[in-house]
């Protein structure tokens, strides 16, 4: 009980610090750096959302890019001004029921989360019966199907042309506000009885079921929450970038989130938050590996793809050497009498 109080205090301190940092940042930093701060917040939400399924519930899902796409398109189509819609859909007019809709950012984000969660339940209901590796490929497949469908539904999503001119509502308060909401939600969920049931499923499905835990109900629940947050994060991203197209939501995007989860540690909240920020910043900081930079006196030639090579190697090394993630203290090897 005292431990919980301490964690709460640390969380509160972190919240206050973040608010101060954001205030200062908005005042003194340029747009590019603000954008990185926004992206960090969005990746915190994404990382926690994936960790909820993959880390806490032990289900290996690779569908995040698909749920983000759903959220991104929902927010884009709901917030875009009506004249802008007409400009976007020059190839084929937009479906009538969306043509004259324009709502505020908060309702659009909520819609993004709810539609994504609904889809999560719809998809989860059949595939969550599958074992871990099959689940991975099935969820990956669903994400691909969503992308292909979005490429082809011209009058709904404008197809491969994508959408431009999405209003930029996302600012640091939105992205980090949502991030803190997610941290709060996941922490309290995990601390409660339902979260413990999720972890029981991760530890031993057979035993969890024998203890009366309805596997299906709890898996779908975890999946729905994760899709909800992935959808909201997708919406924030769309509104941050202002431009989206189906090809943004390839498996590479899911890979980035997986990297955060693995670096932060499966089933670890604070680690995920730190990893999300570090990975986002590094993605930008290591951009020089890909692009040529001119230092005035010397021209450094970048090699496209080098950045992702570095990240892939980091991922493999972490998996091989530090299975607990980067930010956990190494405890002494615990004696285990339970090997059987």
């Amino acid at each position: 009980m005292r431990d919980k109080r301490r964690t709460d205090l640390i969380a509160l301190a972190a919240l206050v610090c973040t608010v101060v940092v954001l205030l200062l940042a908005n005042r003194y930093l340029d747009d590019y750096k603000i954008r990185i701060i926004n992206l960090s917040g969005i990746y915190v939400t994404l990382g926690l959302s994936m960790n909820l399924i993959n880390g806490f519930t032990g289900l290996f899902s690779l569908g995040h890019a698909g749920f983000m796409a759903v959220g991104a398109y929902t927010v884009a189509l709901l917030t875009m001004p009506i004249p802008m819609k007409e400009m976007n859909f020059f190839f084929q007019p937009i479906v009538p029921w969306l043509a004259n809709v324009e709502v505020g950012f908060l309702p659009a984000l909520l819609a993004a989360g709810l539609i994504s969660a609904f889809l999560g339940v719809l998809i989860g209901a059949p595939v969550l019966r599958l074992r871990d590796d099959y689940l991975a490929i099935a969820t990956l497949g669903f994400a691909e199907i969503i992308r292909v469908v979005f490429t082809n539904t011209q009058s709904l999503t404008n197809g491969a042309l994508g959408l431009k001119g999405i209003p930029n509502y996302t600012n640091t308060w939105w992205s980090w506000g949502v991030a803190f909401f997610t941290i709060w939600f996941v922490s309290f969920l995990i601390r409660g009885s339902y979260g413990k049931a999720f972890m029981a499923i991760r530890e031993d499905e057979v035993a969890a079921e024998a203890m009366g835990i309805n596997l299906f109900k709890h898996k779908v629940l975890s999946f729905a929450f994760a899709s909800f947050f992935a959808g909201i994060a997708g919406g924030l991203l769309a509104s941050l970038l202002g431009t989206i197209d189906p090809n943004m939501f390839r498996i590479t995007l899911t890979f980035n989130i997986l990297l955060i989860v693995v670096l932060g540690g499966l089933g670890r909240i604070a680690g995920t938050v730190v990893a999300a920020v570090i990975v986002t910043v590094m993605m930008e900081a290591l951009r020089f590996l890909d692009e040529s930079i001119n230092l005035g006196f010397i021209q450094l030639k970048g090699i496209p793809g080098m950045r992702m090579v570095v990240f892939s190697i980091i991922l493999i090394l972490v998996v091989l050497l530090r299975k607990e993630g980067l930010f956990t203290r190494l405890k002494g090897r615990e004696s285990s009498y339970a090997e059987n």
């Binding site: 595939v127 871990d132 099959y134 691909e144 469908v149 890979f255 090699i303 892939s312 493999i316």
Partner: protein
């Protein structure tokens, strides 16, 4: 051109695409049979096979037909090394860990491909003898569409001989049937697993070369889609079952071509076809068409 000849043309296209899926699917299914691991990097091994052969033909004096053997052999070695570095240390870890390692390896190969080979597409130098159009009763067909199934069938016959008649092949089947018992019987597991990875990668590379001859555009990400679809083929046929993987490959290849041919309006959904099939199979026959269900021991 009559309807029948058009149909025959689609059929041959479907069969040759199916053969390629089948060749790649075998690698997935053999590895899964023994290690219960989806080798996510297998599609990228396929890509690597094409590039290695491409550079061999272009920058060495080795004749193309010899390179068509050396290339896959080199790819086989890469596959074997991949297992040693990224999978072997994790053999006793939770499955999720080794899957993550496999995904990491896949991304590493793709991006190494971009770094080393450049992101721009390259044209595969197809020897003319493999690549010219012949007319059979008014149906124009590229020779390569015939060569692909023939080579595939020859390789399958060889593979079948290997796993049923040789000692290594039989050890492989024993491991795949019952890993624990087989490992107690004095089978050198590490060697068998290495051979499995070598052979799977070799076959994928042969598939890759023929893919390059059929669709002569090389890109570092070219392995992703064929890889995923071939994995699906393996699941559809019943993962761990080689005959199943071949059947699944043909089913998927033919299905995909026929979908586009018969329902042109759905052309845009071509890449989603395999995934829809996968999900249907997983829901109604999770062990695949030729697989058997296993009861987990409690």
């Amino acid at each position: 051109m009559g309807n029948l000849s058009l149909f025959l043309q689609h059929l041959t296209n479907g069969i040759s695409l199916g053969s390629l899926y089948a060749l790649i699917a075998i690698g997935y299914t053999m590895v899964y049979g023994i290690l219960r691991l989806i080798n996510f990097a297998h599609g990228d091994i396929f890509m690597l096979g094409v590039y290695l052969t491409y550079f061999g033909i272009l920058y060495t004096a080795i004749p193309w037909w010899l390179m068509f053997i050396i290339g896959p052999a080199l790819t086989g070695v890469v596959g074997l090394l991949l297992e040693r570095v990224a999978y072997k240390p994790l053999r006793d870890s939770p499955r999720i860990t080794i899957l993550i390692s496999a995904i990491g390896a896949s991304f590493l190969l793709q991006n190494l491909g971009i770094v080393l080979f450049g992101g721009r597409p390259r044209a595969f130098p197809v020897p003319h003898i493999l690549n010219h159009v012949v007319k059979v009763r008014g149906v124009s067909i590229n020779v390569i569409t015939f060569i692909i199934p023939v080579v595939t069938i020859l390789l399958l016959i060889g593979l079948n001989y290997f796993i049923t008649k040789t000692k290594t092949g039989m050890a492989m089947r024993a491991l795949s049937r019952d890993y624990e018992t087989a490992s107690l019987m004095g089978i050198d597991i590490n060697r068998i697993i290495s051979v499995t990875f070598f052979m799977g990668s070799f076959l994928a590379a042969v598939g890759g070369i023929m893919w390059g001859a059929r669709y002569p555009q090389l890109m570092p990400l070219m392995g992703v889609m064929p890889g995923l679809k071939s994995f699906i083929a393996a699941v559809v046929g019943g993962i761990g079952n080689i005959a199943g993987a071949v059947a699944g490959g043909f089913l998927l290849g033919l299905g995909e071509i026929m979908l586009v041919a018969l329902l042109p309006r759905l052309t845009g959904y071509r890449d989603a076809f395999a995934f829809v099939v996968l999900i249907i199979i997983l829901l109604f026959k999770p062990a695949g068409l030729m697989g058997s269900t296993q009861t987990e021991k409690v």
